[in-house]
């Protein structure tokens, strides 16, 4: 990776809140959690990327909508069109909702074939 690209990627990784357009106060970026889910919907767009994941935990199986960074910054963090399809199982790092409700902010994820986006390698 070229130094310039690395520098921009580091910015994406270290300052997710700064670039967020919605208020991030409701999400806990200091205590991220790892989850697994099946992709039901993905829209990599500006100003925010949207994921809907089918998640199973002790509260049962349900579809949960998550927000992520803008299309521009997700691309800078390594995302490319087609690496995630509906039906894929992904591992995601989530800044959860502070009130414990479903949802949160995807700060990075790993695709079924091991590609990492926005995660430290």
């Amino acid at each position: 990776m070229k130094p310039a690209h690395l520098a921009l990627l580091l910015i994406v990784l270290t300052a997710p809140v700064a670039g967020a357009h919605h208020s991030a106060a409701a999400m806990d970026f200091a205590n991220t959690v790892e989850i697994e889910g099946i992709v039901k919907e993905i829209q990599v767009v500006n100003p925010h990327t949207k994921f809907v994941l089918e998640v199973t935990d002790d509260r049962g199986t349900r579809d949960i909508e998550f927000e992520a960074h803008s299309r521009n910054n997700v691309y800078r963090a390594g995302y490319r069109d087609g690496i995630v399809e509906v039906g894929d199982k992904i591992k995601a790092t989530i800044a959860p909702m502070r009130d414990g409700s479903d949802g949160g902010y995807v700060t990075g994820f790993e695709t079924a074939d091991g590609r990492r986006v926005g995660l430290a390698n």
Partner: protein, 245 residues
């Protein structure tokens, strides 16, 4: 004799041109792509410094307007950016860097592109400056530049009243930015902007902040398409309506 005079004139002209080019090249060149400065000098950190965290000297009625706005948007966490609207000055400048900024410099105009929301500012010089009465108020205002030695001074007026950013302001605000170039101990080119905003309608005194960027060698900006999902959704609605009819 005439031949010698002509030669002298041509030489003088060439020397004058060379001197002119030399003078033009003496200006610091800010052209390039810039990101937040995170280097060791200047106390570290790349975001704004100076005003952030400090209480702004807001007048009571301005404070009231801001509180009314915040009460309106707080429940849903709404922001202009969430609705594909750029931040406007001074937030567009102070917030740039996480999304990079590109500067394109020529003698009569400096164009600044902030990647987020494709916000563009144009800083005009000399004959390109239009009379104040012809300027259209905008969220990023109208900017006029001048050089004080190696410092670029940009004065921005004709702003729209905004309570939807950290440095809320009225349409009477004037923002002065002083840009200078330096090199840190690691050899990184650093661009510094000292921003001062005065606004007698909103503030009892000046509000100021310092912002630094680092040059991204061979960096590039991406287009920030934001409205396309809204358009596609509208087309879907049109198609559904057409099917129903």
């Amino acid at each position: 004799m005439l031949g010698k005079l002509s030669l002298c004139l041509r030489l003088a002209c060439m020397l004058g041109l060379a001197a002119g080019v030399g003078l033009a090249q003496e200006r610091p060149d800010f052209t390039g792509v810039w990101t937040n400065y995170r280097g060791p000098a200047f106390g570290g950190g790349g975001g704004g410094r100076g005003g952030r965290g400090a209480a702004l000297p807001l007048r009571e009625d301005a404070q009231r307007k801001i509180q009314e706005y915040q009460a309106l948007v707080a429940p849903a966490g709404d922001t202009p950016g969430g609705y594909c609207l750029g931040t406007g000055m001074p937030g567009s400048m102070l917030g740039s860097g996480g999304y990079p900024m590109e500067i394109i410099q020529r003698p009569d105009q400096i164009t600044i592109v902030y990647e987020a929301h494709n916000e563009i500012r144009r800083v005009y010089f000399g004959d390109r400056v239009i009379p104040p009465e012809d300027r259209l108020p905008e969220r990023n205002g109208y900017s006029v530049g001048r050089w004080e030695g190696d410092t670029l001074v940009v004065e921005t007026t004709h702003l729209r009243e905004q309570v939807d950013q950290r440095y809320a302001h009225s349409d009477q605000a004037t923002i002065v930015e002083r840009y200078s170039l330096s090199t840190d101990e690691n050899g990184t080119r650093v661009l510094t902007a000292e921003m001062t905003m005065t606004d007698p309608a909103f503030y009892t005194g000046p509000a100021s902040e310092v912002k630094r960027w680092a040059m991204v060698p061979n960096g590039f900006l991406m287009t920030y398409e934001c409205n396309e999902p809204i358009w596609l959704e509208h087309l879907e609605t049109l198609a559904e309506t057409a099917d129903e009819n």
